[in-house]
Amino acid sequence: MLLLTRKIGEGLLIGSNIRVVVLEIRGKQVRLGVEAPGDIAVLREELLEPVAQENRRAAQVQPEDLAEPVRIWTIKKE
């Protein structure tokens, strides 16, 4: 991992079109500004973890457990 030290107002560039700037430091919190083109999604990292957890639960599926849902669906349609 690349390590950089920045002061308030200083930024860094990722590639040619993403810019991250340190706006404010308050105790343990850092306020960052992100400038990125409209087609780049920016997301707080911790939002991924609950989704990853649910995905891992879903991957524990046993194929034979699909028979019952299929049966219920067929009845529902009739």
Partner: protein, 156 residues
């Protein structure tokens, strides 16, 4: 000329995967869906294929071709919540290269607790979006999802 099936050379654009849940499957390169940067939980695996087994309709399998043990049951969310709406931003759709709404396929992942299929839940909060034209996919993770990550499919 009749060839013994065993002598037919394998299609160079296809390969087989010995999967844990679905047995041996043959995958054509053109069917592969690339999830970049992978699905949350497995960022190292990018290539998946959708498998439709008629006897299991309306359920589908999203099988990872880089990890034979990794397969998820997925469904069209409209089967679960008929008025389901995807809140994908235009930035997200641009990333996928989606230009026309009809090129976008939306699926949600189902969680079936082993041995308790009636407790199946659907992750409506983080749908899978697939661009059918370029076969690029991505799981949508929202800041403030309006749907549940564990939507109970069958009433208690």
């Amino acid at each position: 000329m009749n060839l013994d099936p065993k002598e037919i050379p394998p299609d160079p654009a296809s390969f087989t995967v010995a999967t844990r849940n679905l047995g041996q499957i043959t995958v054509r390169e053109g069917e592969v869906i690339t999830f970049s940067p992978g699905l949350p939980g497995w960022s190292q695996f990018h290539r998946y294929v959708l498998i439709r087994r008629p006897q299991e309709s309306p359920f589908l399998w999203l099988q990872c071709v880089d990890n034979p043990d990794l397969a998820l049951v997925v469904i069209n969310p409209a089967e679960v919540v008929p008025q389901y709406q995807v809140a994908a931003s235009s930035a997200f759709l641009k990333e996928l290269g989606v230009e026309e709404p009809q090129d976008l396929k939306v699926l949600v992942i189902l969680t079936i607790p082993p041995g308790r299929p009636r407790e199946m839940t659907a992750n409506l909060a983080a749908p899978l979006l697939i661009n059918l034209l370029n076969r690029r996919g991505r799981q949508l993770v929202l800041e403030n999802p309006q749907y549940s990550r564990q939507h109970r499919v069958f009433p208690r």
